[in-house]
């Protein structure tokens, strides 16, 4: 592996995260660092090898906005499904909806599929190319709008541009 500035930066950044993790796992016991420093160094090296640094532009404001959106929506999702479960009459009208994605191919689409499963009323059942199939609890809900919102939030967080045709 060529030693580039990006690799050194990634090594230091990941090393810091692994060190924090080690500190938390060992409850900050000072005696553990003899093993810990070796473990952190190996973990950082292994992570660089398994997941080489890629130029990403994760925006901090985007990340924060996504987190707020996510926590708010998963709260709504939990309340909604609890309401469906606990109300006396079972009033589900499930359906399968297919939505075309505007996110570029790759990990961001998988992230979107996983996110949709935790949002109110939607559950990802299939992802092929730029088509996402969702199982929805309420056939009349504006599923496509919800996917668009989640897409926009994800794209903002990852610094991606959406393919608007």
């Amino acid at each position: 592996m060529k030693i580039t500035l990006a690799a050194v930066r990634a090594f230091l950044w990941r090393g810091t995260l692994f060190a924090l993790l080690w500190w938390a796992l060992t409850d900050g016991r000072p005696g553990s660092w003899a093993v810990g420093s070796v473990a952190v160094a190996f973990a950082s090296a292994a992570s660089l090898r398994l997941l080489p640094p890629v130029p990403t532009h994760v925006s901090r404001i985007g990340l924060l906005r996504f987190l707020v959106f996510f926590v708010h929506q998963s709260l709504r999702g939990g309340v909604q499904v609890a309401w469906f479960a606990l109300r006396p009459r079972l009033a589900l009208s499930p359906a399968i909806h297919e939505v075309g994605l505007r996110l570029p191919a790759g990990i961001s689409r998988v992230l979107l599929a996983n996110t949709m499963s935790l949002l109110p009323g939607t559950l990802s059942v299939e992802l092929q190319g730029d088509r996402l199939c969702l199982h929805v609890l309420d056939a009349s809900a504006p599923t496509e709008t919800e996917v668009r919102t989640a897409e926009t939030r994800l794209a903002q967080m990852l610094g991606l541009t959406l393919d608007t045709r």
Partner: protein, 103 residues
């Protein structure tokens, strides 16, 4: 009891309530997809509330980090596993239940 204690108590009890709703959904919902909705959403919210309830009484920052890590991992696990189960079920031709079908 301090305000933090009360807040913690409310969060923990609310968390348990969502786990209960998730279980009721699991028992009542008619097919694997709707049951996945119940588990993926209600149980995750339940765990989130329990984690934040315990976070308020965490005696050390190290424990707080561990609790947050548990929450993040569990979220990632349910989202991924939920999606994979649903995808497998669909690829194997398990038809979703529709309103009007017998349970």
């Amino acid at each position: 009891m301090t305000i933090a204690d009360w807040a913690s108590l409310v969060l923990l009890v609310a968390g348990a309530a969502f786990f209960f709703a998730g279980t009721v959904g699991l028992l009542r919902f008619p097919d694997v997809y709707t049951r996945l909705h119940a588990l993926a959403k209600a149980d995750n919210l339940g765990l989130g509330l329990v984690v934040f309830g315990l976070l308020l009484k965490a005696p050390s920052a190290a424990l707080a980090i561990k609790l947050l890590l548990v929450w993040l991992l569990a979220l990632a696990a349910s989202a991924t596993v939920g999606f994979l189960i649903a995808r497998r079920a669909r690829r194997h031709g398990i038809e979703p239940w529709r309103a009007g079908d017998a349970e």
